[in-house]
């Protein structure tokens, strides 16, 4: 069996012909396998969805219980047979519930890793290396300029700034699923127990993370709190809210943004960020290289992001590599496009 007989890129997403399923389809399909809950990978309207319990829960929180016709929970490491093809889910270390999907038939194993990172994250299970023939990788930060510092160091920058400007509120832009909760957990690990305030858009998902065991400490909704009385407080909000009218009601806030893109000065300036925090839920360049080597795959398919550089590097170490030119996945926003208004 050739790899292309087991998995092929189509406009709707990665398709497995023998099992008739799609992985992370970007348009409604009959049967979908979903790696994680970010909105560019997990969309509503499929006939049936197979995903981890956490991913299914988060889709229900975002889209409502009717987000799919049928749902089936994938247990980590436990294969599911569909028409002679074995599918198994394994931790990807990206966000809570995120999984790589291993696809196996006739002795050929392809791993679709979705989005992943190797750095430790207190809010989700660590990435598991899977040996395979073909490894499908993202390349969001697929350039050698991207090396993410330890998240703890970046959070220390935030806490130092609060000590320096105790009279100013610190607005931290962070994506509502994963990044926000990770930043909170890192702040707690750094020993800060102050109340952290949340923008309405991230309340439900953050409550879900806490329910699932993340140690997030005392949280309070921003709604109903006095925006003028936030001196020295940390407020988490979606990145779009930093430039919104919403943020203008704070007196002289320090605007921060937690994202891997903050490594590039112009990206921070373009967003009007005063305190860039380089915290990412995607693999950086060394992690991409490390992971590709550890899978021992002889062929690498690169999905979305800066695929040119990663393909070039793979080829330079003798691996067959090609870009899949997948459309519909965010190669720009850190993990996901801004959720439409009204979605939690």
């Amino acid at each position: 069996m050739r790899p292309a007989d087991l998995l092929i890129p189509t406009p709707a997403g990665l398709y497995c012909p023998p099992a008739d399923v799609f992985i992370d389809p970007v348009r409604p399909v009959a049967r979908a396998l979903i790696t994680h809950g970010h909105s560019d990978h997990a969309r509503a309207g499929h006939g049936a969805v197979l995903a981890t319990r956490e991913t299914l829960d988060m889709m229900a929180i975002r889209y409502g219980e009717g987000f799919t016709g049928e749902r089936q929970t994938a247990k980590l490491g436990l294969p599911v047979d569909i028409n002679g093809v074995r599918f198994s889910f394994h931790p990807a270390g990206h966000v809570l519930g995120s999984a790589q999907i291993a696809v196996e038939a006739n002795g050929l194993r392809i791993v679709a890793s979705g989005d992943y990172k190797r750095a430790l994250d207190p809010t989700c299970a660590p990435f598991e290396v899977l040996r395979c023939d073909v490894f499908i990788t993202e390349a969001t930060f697929g350039l050698p300029v991207f090396t993410h510092p330890e998240a703890g160091l970046e959070v220390a920058k935030l806490l130092r700034s609060i000590a320096l400007f105790p009279e100013r509120a610190h607005l931290v832009g962070a994506y509502s699923l994963g990044k926000a909760q990770r930043v909170i957990a890192e702040i707690r690990q750094a020993g800060c127990d102050e109340t952290i305030y949340l923008h309405g858009a991230m309340e439900k998902l953050t409550a879900y993370y806490a329910e699932q065991g993340s140690k997030l400490g005392v949280l309070r909704p921003m709604a109903g709190s006095d925006r003028q009385a936030m001196q020295g407080a940390i407020i988490l909000c979606p990145p779009s809210a930093i430039q919104d009218v919403w943020s203008r009601k704070f007196a002289d806030p320090v605007t921060c943004f937690a994202s891997g893109w903050m490594r590039i000065r112009a990206r921070a300036r373009q967003r009007g960020v005063e305190l860039p925090l380089i915290v990412s839920d995607h693999a950086d360049w060394p992690e991409l290289q490390q992971t590709i080597r550890e899978t021992e795959a002889s062929e690498i398919w690169v999905t979305h992001g800066q695929e040119d550089a990663l393909v070039h590097w793979c080829q330079s170490i003798g691996l067959a590599a090609r870009p899949l030119n997948m459309v519909g996945y965010s190669d720009d926003g850190d993990a996901e496009p801004e959720a439409p208004k009204g979605t939690p």
């Binding site: 000065r265 112009a266 990206r267 800066q306 040119d308």
Partner: protein
């Protein structure tokens, strides 16, 4: 070095002007000499490390990284220094080295032989962290691009010492880095340094664009009008040095000394003593030529006699700042103008002309004049006219952009609808966005109508519009040539730009044989299919003369 790095790092993220000044005031007050003086020089653009050219930096990084990966990274980051700083391999000697002060780094760089510069730079870069590497590379390549102008740095110095910034400008041109005499004076420890330059630059006065409401509130009788020529603003200054020799200088509006590029002008000012403000133009046989002609003389360190003969430069003078050993800037415009006319008459040079002044009987009369200057000047000269300047008769000459004194009233730009053909990522503020656009118009090709590129634009749009175009580019790429993306441009599929520009002339550099002056994207025509964009004949007609009434 770390202090300087921290300063420019902070400044780079700080959006507010006042906050920037606060950071600078604090830095100057707490940093010792000579470091603070070199930092000031870096910001004022008066430090020059001739040896550290971008080519040298590229060669240093290419010895340490894969060239393809470097090219892709540079294209993405959009800033050479930052890309190198981020990709420079981490060194384990970093902590072992003693931190060098900015002054020590500058001394090392200036005292090292050219052949040893690469090794020195590599060694310095090894000893720094990313921010330090970035700051050092910015420093040695010049142009920090952190939103700090020479003027802003001087404003911070003035604020720190509680004096007017003009007082600093007065002595500035006689000073050199690391400016120890300047700091001694600012701190009250020494008298003001003498301006060592007998022909110093004086900050220019700028105008505001006139608005519709101004015509209602302003009385035209209080003003005079002049043509707004499409040249470059210059200041010509002459004075006598300590040895009795006359020194004549030509400055750009920002105070850059451009005398060497215009010896013809310097010669024409023989016998002049004072400072005049005017527009630098190419004037052949008494007729002003368009900006295209002037462009041949700009950005040259030296000129040949041939070039001077082909493109003879002249100044159209309109104001007087200094004369007869006296500062004229506080006197009203009409008085300055009277003395200016006498001085120009004495020079008797075709290279120094007076800008004509008109009374304004009513705004309507001026409007008619602005719409068709052809009534007053030749059609060729009309092409070099950008509009009108409107100046209060009693206006003093004030540095900066004072309100209510001088106005500019530009002619309406030319407009053409063109189709987006190629895009590449921008640099600086726009880095990593697709923001440099090549656009084309229709012509008849061998196989029917085809688009031919006619120009490039990289501004004119809002940030919101840029995000929209960027999205369009990413979704509609049909081809890639290195960093350049070809964007779909078919009769019914593509993006039409309304492009505004100030003029158009023949050019051998472009496939269409035409070059636009100051093109910018004035509107996105999402509503318009590419087939309805303009044709090349429209542009050729404009180039041949004949201004379209818009």
């Amino acid at each position: 070095m770390n202090r300087f790095a921290a300063l420019i790092d902070r400044l780079g993220y700080e959006p507010g002007r006042n906050a920037k000044i606060r950071l600078l005031v604090d830095y100057f007050a707490t940093t010792p000499d000579p470091d603070r003086g070199y930092a000031l020089a870096a910001m004022a653009g008066t430090l020059d490390f001739g040896q550290a050219k971008p080519a040298l930096l590229r060669s240093l990084i290419s010895e340490r990284t894969d060239p393809t990966l470097f090219a892709l990274s540079y294209d993405y980051v959009g800033d050479l220094s930052e890309t190198i700083a981020l990709m420079w391999p981490a060194s384990n000697t970093q902590s072992a080295q003693r931190e060098l002060g900015l002054g020590e780094v500058v001394a090392l760089l200036s005292n090292t032989k050219k052949a040893d510069i690469p090794a020195l730079l590599a060694n310095l870069l090894d000893g720094l962290d990313e921010t330090g590497r970035w700051a050092m590379l910015k420093l040695i390549t010049g142009g920090l691009r952190i939103g700090i102008s020479s003027r802003l740095a001087k404003t911070a110095l003035a604020q720190g010492a509680d004096i007017e910034v003009d007082a600093i400008e007065q002595v500035w041109h006689g000073l050199t880095p690391p400016y120890e005499a300047l700091f001694l004076w600012l701190e009250g420890k020494a008298p003001a340094p003498l301006s060592g330059n007998p022909a110093p630059f004086r900050p220019v006065m700028l105008s505001h664009a006139i608005e519709d409401s101004d015509f209602v509130s302003l009385n035209s009788a209080d003003f005079v009008a002049e043509w707004k020529w499409d040249g470059i603003r210059v200041q010509a200054t002459a004075g006598t040095d300590a040895t009795g020799k006359t020194v004549t200088k030509l400055y750009s509006r920002a105070g850059e000394d451009i005398s060497d590029a215009f010896p013809d002008i310097i010669d024409a000012l023989m016998g002049f003593d004072g400072a005049i403000d005017g527009e630098l133009l190419v004037v052949r046989d008494g007729k002003v030529e368009s900006f295209n002609a002037l462009q041949q003389r700009l950005n040259r360190k030296k000129v040949t006699p041939k070039l001077m003969a082909e493109y003879p430069a002249a100044i159209c003078v309109y104001d007087l700042l200094y004369a007869d050993g006296e500062d004229w800037r506080d006197k009203p415009f009409t008085e300055r103008r009277e003395r200016l006319e006498q001085l120009v008459a004495q020079l008797k040079s075709p290279r120094i002309e007076l800008s004509p002044v008109f009374d304004i009987p009513s705004w309507e009369v001026l409007a008619a004049l602005r719409a068709s200057p052809e009534g007053k000047v030749t059609p060729q000269e009309a092409e070099a006219i950008e509009g009108c300047m409107i100046k209060r008769r009693d206006s003093p000459y004030l540095a900066g952009r004072p309100k209510g004194l001088w106005f500019k009233w530009k002619r309406d730009p030319f407009i053409v609808d063109a189709v987006l053909m190629y895009a590449r990522r921008g640099h600086g503020k726009r880095s990593s966005f697709y923001s440099d656009f090549t656009f084309g118009v229709w012509r008849d090709g061998e196989n029917g109508p085809e688009l031919v590129p006619v120009g490039k634009a990289y501004f004119g749009f809002t940030d919101q519009e840029l995000a929209e175009i960027d999205r369009f580019v990413r979704k509609h790429t049909v081809n890639r040539f290195g960093p350049v993306r070809e964007i779909v441009h078919e009769p019914d599929l593509g993006l039409v730009f309304e492009v505004a520009f100030e003029g158009i002339g023949p050019s051998t550099r472009h496939r269409s044989g035409l070059a636009m002056r100051f093109p910018r994207i004035s509107r996105l025509r999402w509503d318009k299919p590419p087939r309805e964009a303009d044709r090349i004949e429209t542009l050729t007609a404009l180039s041949a003369g004949g201004r379209k009434k818009s």
